[in-house]
């Protein structure tokens, strides 16, 4: 258990001390939001208007409203972006996914794959390649 607040502020516990379940929330990209996810923070549009409050369970309709209002992400409980993204790519053909990753690794070989922007670009371009080629092979 964490000590009194004053102590914690002065002397933060090193290492992954806080691995409690309530911390396992995160900003999830619009494309990975699913009905049933629970908002961990309110969703505010750019003009400052609150669209949905904390604790609201998302529906298809909410997600389509986010699209129209230009909301690109939302903080949800119990799911991290990594998990949501992994669920998304798990639905793809594993062979095509492997081929896409090999191709993308070559294409991206001069970039720093640890950079957060590059990581996300790589992930999205891989999925995009699989979708394009899955379509191409069906037709």
């Amino acid at each position: 258990m964490p000590g009194p607040w004053s102590n914690q502020l002065k002397e933060p516990i090193p290492g992954p001390a806080i691995e409690a379940s309530e911390v396992r929330m995160g900003k999830v990209n619009l494309e990975n939001l699913k009905p049933g996810m629970i908002l961990a923070t309110k969703v505010v549009e750019r003009g400052g208007r609150v669209l949905l409050g904390v604790g609201v369970e998302l529906t298809e309709k909410h997600i389509s409203i986010f699209k129209k209002w230009g909301i690109t992400e939302a903080d949800v409980q119990k799911v991290t972006q990594e998990e949501a993204a992994a669920t998304a790519s798990a639905q793809l053909d594993p062979l095509l996914l492997q081929e896409a990753e090999t191709r993308m690794a070559k294409l991206f070989h001069l970039t720093d794959r640890n950079d957060p922007l590059i990581t996300e670009l790589f992930r999205l371009c891989t999925i995009r390649w699989v979708r394009k080629n899955a379509r191409g092979r069906l037709e």
């Binding site: 619009l30 494309e31 690109t72 294409l107 720093d112």
Partner: protein, 286 residues
């Protein structure tokens, strides 16, 4: 010491000139005394340009609710600077000829440039920049120095592009190794010779080193990132085979969350085909 690059660039002569019609449009837009009507009149003198501009402003790219039938309407609705920038984009694409197809595929080159322009425009819209057309035209022009190199240093370029295909490095690095300068310096010099705005010159010059842009850091950062997106999505081909390294601080400078990527990529895919059809000459539609 004079950098080697400057000596070399002086060798680069007889650059293509911008079409007379664009120079006149530019003059009338820059002249504080000219009216909207004056701008419309100059554009209307060129029927080809008029048709191209009307096609663009009536496309989904703009999504205006009603049809714009005349240039004078377009001038009022779209704006004079924006029309000037679009006129520049479509004029430049028609300017270069004589580059052997096996050295550089021009259609593919312009497709990459259009992709970069669209991406830059989308990123600028996320940032709520004014006149996003200047980002579009900067994207169209960013690699223009490579065309000059292909025209004037064609043998060296053949060797450079071959080394790049074999995985040596980015075109820019290999250009520098072989020639002592690269397409950004040549492009910057061309923009200056054409007397185009200093912002375009800096963006072309700094699109691989956006932190060196002192006057237009945001513009340079947008094009730097847009170029990387276009390569990652493999839309068109500028001679480059690899996604160029990202300058992370340039992305931070834009203040945009990584979560916009997904919708940005969707928007690029949606706009790419139509914009290519609108901007490239018929012969390039393939």
């Amino acid at each position: 010491m004079i950098p080697k690059s400057y000596i070399q660039i002086e060798d680069i002569t007889d650059i293509p000139s911008l079409p007379e019609i664009f120079i006149r449009v530019n003059e009338v837009v820059n002249n504080p005394r000219s009216s909207l009507e004056d701008v419309g009149k100059v554009i209307s003198e060129d029927t080809g340009l008029t048709a191209r501009l009307l096609k663009i402003v009536n496309s989904a790219f703009y999504g205006f609710p009603s049809h714009i039938e005349t240039i004078s309407r377009a001038v009022t609705i779209v704006g004079t600077q924006q029309l000037r920038d679009l006129a520049l984009a479509t004029s430049v694409i028609r300017l270069f000829s004589g580059i052997p197809h096996d050295l550089l595929d021009m259609e593919s080159f312009w497709r990459h440039s259009v992709a970069c322009g669209i991406t830059a425009r989308i990123l600028a819209t996320f940032r709520r920049e004014s006149n996003v057309e200047r980002f579009f035209v900067a994207g169209i022009l960013h690699d223009i120095g490579r065309l000059i190199l292909c025209l004037q240093k064609s043998e060296e370029m053949r060797d450079i592009l071959k080394q790049v295909r074999q995985g040596a490095n980015t075109v820019r690095v290999v250009e520098f190794d072989v020639l002592g300068f690269d397409h950004t310096t040549v492009g910057g010099a061309l923009i200056q010779a054409w007397k185009l705005p200093a912002s375009l010159e800096e963006v072309v010059l700094c699109h691989h080193a956006p932190l060196q842009a002192s006057r237009y850091p945001v513009e340079a950062a947008v094009i730097h990132v847009a170029d990387i997106f276009s390569h990652a999505m493999q839309l068109g081909h500028s001679g480059e085979c690899w996604v160029p390294p990202l300058e992370g601080k340039a992305w931070d400078r834009l203040g945009l969350p990584v979560s916009i990527l997904s919708s940005t990529i969707d928007q690029i895919d949606r706009q790419y085909y139509d914009t290519v059809q609108m901007i490239l000459p018929e012969s390039h539609h393939g």
